[in-house]
């Protein structure tokens, strides 16, 4: 190692005033740059807590403590040459003597960095004091709010900006009824335009937070219903138990004023592009500094200044500070909000595109240059998935597509998202730590092979975290481009993909998890990732009853107990109703069971009946009665065949051209009990009017004059996809053969928990490849796939009927193995003539009866 040793008297003293996020970042950068070889460093913090993450302050109320919010381990400040003075405010600076004055005494400096941050501005309002004058800035402030909230029902935040909404979220998470009072006519007036503010207001109000715009608080007096009364203009008022002021921040420049450094016109310590103040030995960084008259109230510009100053003091090259990008994306009260560049379209000639969705209160605005070639800015409310792409367009001057509106319109297939390969090497991936795509690439070239290594090596995605998804994309794309295999291990116990495990099970005839683990895995127990995945593979291949002792420990709770666990730990029960066809006696039987066990009853989207609220020990009784009435399990709990929906078809309908119900029954009877990587839904429509909605299913069948058209790989749900027309005018036998082959091919090659739609999109060669394999048998697999399916079909047995025959298997269906009682914590209330789980706030209202024997 090549260490330069400086003579002792050459070591100078550097003092950093302020230990917030920016001050801390500066210290980290100084250490990394080798500053401890040149300086002994003293850091003074006014708070008693070392630097913590103010961006995620509200998490202090949802479980995180001060230590977990800390920016670093304490050990960072325990290195020789570095001293941290916490709880020691700096009182004065004596520039002539090069000294700072504190209660602990005077400390001389050679260089001084001011990182004193900002303080919340509280407008002078008569009567504001104590719990009616809280602020939201430090952990201590949050402790005060928590204390005030412990005796409160309602809380008001004055100020509807970014921090104000964070504070409202904090009040809400403390269980208060929260209100926001904003002076401006919209929320987040700096970042959003009118329509964006309106969309955000609608969303926040839907969450139960009161929003009061264009309201000025004039005074605060005693309330009647609540502790305080906020008197607004026009004789309006709002009563509340506490008030948090979040009406903006002011730079903390008191020390600079005292020692007569030059200030910005609206406050803040005036700095040049190298963060130098009017005194050459004093720097100012972060929210206390004003460059060109502006204060930057975000963490990214503060970090940029901190990096610049640290580099100068370590005599390294650095970029000058010429303002900062104030683009930001956040989740406020769970609502996505994004603002990029010229969000208001204020630049000359700017042209805007707007997308408004009043149904979901989503809003997007794209501001482009007069020549239509560049993105100048954007506003997003409701969906930040557009942010990364738009920001890259704006920051890198990437030429716009022919129709710029496509960048903000809801995405159909093939929407122009900007792929990782389209970004230039100079593109900024992480603006908090100024990491470019080029830096990520060189980290990969220097040996970083996983995302965690990239993060710790480049610091990308460790600031606000907003770039995590983009970083992952770039990382995976670059790895692939270098021919490096991305680690696709199932989990720490199997260094194989699901497809590989499937062929091992199949080829080696493995029938238990332990055997597969011994032959191909690590450890002795597996985990909740590999066990259900292997359980599903074993079922797809061999279709043994999942209640067998060797298979039971592999299943998720729903498969273990053959019912769907709901939020209060009770189960719902779904008997199979093939094709949605049911006799009146069948309906009566289900009704009788539901009535007897007081089950909440609802018709499902798959033409069945779901019975909710059964406790574990009730399941065997419920199922004995259902099976007695001729029902089978519906597998609603499994990653398996669910339903085959159908219309009445040619039997009754004047338009029907084929008997869709009969075909639905045939399909459901064939594939019931088939387990697969994800759930499977089917539908059969009797004519092109498509009443069964077959084109939204994994397997959709639509009748034609000449037979059946087969559609594959559709789904509803979170990301709907239309099924694609796969083959036309098939006869019954060919249709079933194709479905056999398709399902087995999917089961053989899909990833764990991958729906057919996503599987289909990941298939190289796409639909044509699928047709070649299934219709033309290009891989020579067709017979094998069909016979594998036939085995599963032949081994079908209703799992519930199987379990009911075996007292050993039923032993598990006891709420308590040593006591016959039901779970006393499961409580219901009546709503619309049925019972539903009691909400936490209702629990206190339910009288508790002691059982009298």
């Amino acid at each position: 190692m090549n260490t330069t040793v400086f003579p002792l008297n050459d070591v100078k003293t550097l003092i950093v005033v302020g230990n917030g996020m920016v001050g801390h970042h500066c210290v980290e950068q100084l250490i990394a740059g080798g500053a401890l070889e040149r300086y002994r460093i003293h850091v003074f913090g006014e708070e008693t807590q070392r630097a913590y993450d103010r961006v995620h302050l509200s998490e202090y109320f949802t479980g995180r403590d001060a230590e977990s919010l800390a920016m670093s381990e304490m050990s960072v400040y325990e290195q020789p040459g570095l001293t941290l003075h916490l709880g020691v405010p700096v009182l004065e600076i004596d520039r002539d003597r090069h000294e700072i004055i504190t209660a602990e005494g005077c400390f001389g400096y050679d260089k001084l960095i001011l990182a004193t941050g900002s303080y919340p501005f509280v407008p002078p309002i008569e009567g504001a004091r104590g719990n009616s004058r809280l602020v939201y800035r430090t952990l201590e402030d949050l402790d005060s709010i928590r204390y005030a909230a412990s005796k409160a029902r309602r809380g008001v935040v004055v100020g509807g900006g970014l921090l104000g909404l964070e504070a409202a979220n904090a009040l809400k998470s403390l269980g208060l009824e929260a209100h926001v009072v904003e002076f401006a006519p919209r929320l987040m007036p700096v970042q959003l335009d009118d329509l964006g503010g309106a969309a955000l207001k609608a969303r926040i109000e839907a969450l139960g937070v009161g929003v009061h715009l264009s309201r000025a608080t004039q005074s605060i007096s005693d309330g009647k219903q609540y502790r305080y009364r906020m008197n607004l203009a026009n004789d309006e008022f709002l009563e509340t138990d506490l008030i948090v002021f979040s009406a903006g921040i002011r730079p903390q420049d008191a020390l600079a004023r005292q020692c007569e450094l030059a200030l910005g016109p609206r406050g803040g310590i005036a700095i040049d592009e190298h963060c130098r103040t009017s005194d050459a030995d004093i720097y100012a960084i972060g929210e206390c500094a004003a460059w060109n008259g502006s204060v930057f109230g975000l963490v990214a510009p503060g970090y940029q200044m901190a990096r610049g100053v640290a580099a100068q003091l370590c005599e390294q090259d650095t970029d000058a500070f010429f303002g900062a990008d104030m683009s930001t994306k956040l989740k406020l009260l769970g609502v996505d909000v994004g603002s990029i560049g010229d969000a208001h379209g204020a630049l000359a000639g700017a042209v805007s595109y707007r997308f408004i969705d009043e149904a979901t209160a989503s809003y997007r605005r794209l501001v482009v240059s007069a020549d239509g070639k560049q993105v100048l800015g954007a506003v997003l409310v409701g969906d930040n998935s557009y942010y990364d792409t738009l920001l890259q367009y704006a920051q890198n001057g990437i030429p716009l597509p022919a129709d710029p509106s496509s960048l903000i319109l809801p995405r159909g297939e093939g929407a122009p998202t900007l792929g990782a390969d389209a970004l230039p090497a100079t593109a900024t991936i992480c603006s908090c730590h100024n990491v470019s795509k080029g830096a990520v690439c060189s980290a990969i070239d220097n040996g970083c092979t996983d995302l965690a290594a990239i993060k710790s090596c480049t610091k990308a995605a460790t600031g606000c975290g907003g770039c995590t998804a983009l970083l992952k994309q770039v990382f995976e794309h670059e790895l692939a481009a270098r021919g490096v295999a991305v680690d696709k291990s199932l989990c720490e116990h199997f260094a194989h993909t699901r497809q590989e495990l499937y062929s091992m099970v199949r080829v080696e005839g493995i029938e238990t998890f332990d055997e597969l683990l011994t032959r191909h895995g690590k450890g002795a127990h597996g985990c909740d990732i590999c066990k259900p995945a292997v359980g599903s593979i074993l079922a797809s291949c061999w279709n043994r009853p999942i209640t067998e002792p060797s298979l039971v420990p592999l299943q998720d709770t729903n498969d273990t107990f053959m019912a769907n666990m709901q939020k209060n730990g009770t189960y719902s029960v779904v008997p199979r109703i093939p094709g949605g066809e049911i006799t009146p006696d069948g309906l009566i039987a289900i009704g009788a069971v539901a009535k007897k066990y007081d089950l909440y009853t609802k018709i499902t989207g798959g033409q069945r009946i779901d019975l909710f609220g059964a406790q574990l020990h009730e399941l065997p009784d419920i199922w004995s009665e259902l099976i007695e009435a001729g029902f089978e399990t519906g597998h609603a709990y499994g990653k398996s065949t669910r339903t085959v929906k159908s219309c009445v078809g040619s039997t009754w309908c004047r338009y029907g051209v084929q008997d869709s119900v009969a075909m639905a029954l045939r399909i459901e009877d064939r594939y019931k009990g088939l387990r697969s990587p994800h759930k499977l839904k089917f539908a059969v429509s009797g004519c092109t009017r498509e009443c069964a909605e077959a084109q939204s299913k994994d397997v959709g069948v639509i009748a034609t004059e000449n037979g059946w058209n087969l559609y594959l790989c559709g789904n509803g749900g979170m990301r709907p996809r239309h099924a694609e027309l796969f083959a036309t005018d098939l006869d019954d036998e060919t249709l079933v053969r194709y479905i056999d082959r398709f399902l087995m091919l999917y089961i053989r090659t899909a990833d764990k928990l991958q729906r057919t739609s996503v599987w289909r999109e990941s298939l190289e060669g796409g639909l044509d490849y699928l047709k070649a394999v299934i219709i033309d048998d290009s891989l020579g697999l067709a017979t094998e796939l069909e016979s594998q399916m036939q085995l599963v079909v032949d081994r079908y047995e209703c799992e519930w009927a199987n379990a009911l025959k075996d007292p050993e298997k039923l032993k598990r269906f006891r709420t308590f193995v040593n006591d016959g009682r039901a779970d006393p914590d499961v409580q219901f209330v009546k709503e619309r003539a049925q019972r539903r789980p009691a909400k936490p706030e209702e629990l206190a209202l339910i009288p508790l009866f002691k059982e009298v024997v």
Binding site: H525, C527, V552, P553, M565, G569, L616, F816, V817, N818
Partner: protein
């Protein structure tokens, strides 16, 4: 009775001699490599029984209440091993609790009570 089958789980469990053991349920009530729940004077105890581990036969007793959902469901979770430690995955939100001390991997503020528990002949005994 087979002394080699006596297992004591629970971190920092006091010496066995000081514990007051009481019968909880039968060995036959347990399900291998999975969980069942027993009633203990108002408390709900999830019992996880692993007949074969590197340390031999093991039995764990852990609170049945999932702190995240407030529902009594831990006993119906899936046993697994993460970084060498035996854990139970809550069936509702899938967070993991270490079987030996009830601590949560994902959320340090969530922690489940554990009880010393042992197999004695055909009985499961718990110390309270």
């Amino acid at each position: 009775m087979n002394a080699s089958q006596t297992i004591i789980a629970g971190n920092n469990a006091p010496a066995a001699a000081q514990l007051h053991w009481q019968p909880l349920c039968g060995r036959a009530d347990l399900v291998a490599n999975s969980g069942v729940v027993a009633w203990l004077d108002g408390a709900q105890v999830a019992l996880f029984y692993l007949p074969e581990t590197a340390q031999g036969e093991q039995l764990f007793a852990i609170d049945n209440r999932d702190p995240k959902s407030g529902a009594n469901v831990i006993g119906r979770g899936l046993i697994g091993q993460i970084a060498g430690e035996l854990v139970i995955a809550s069936p509702l939100y899938k967070q993991h609790f270490r079987l030996h001390d009830g601590s949560c991997i994902e959320y340090p503020e969530q922690r489940l009570d554990v009880w010393p528990v042992r197999l004695k002949g055909d009985l499961v005994e718990i110390a309270v």
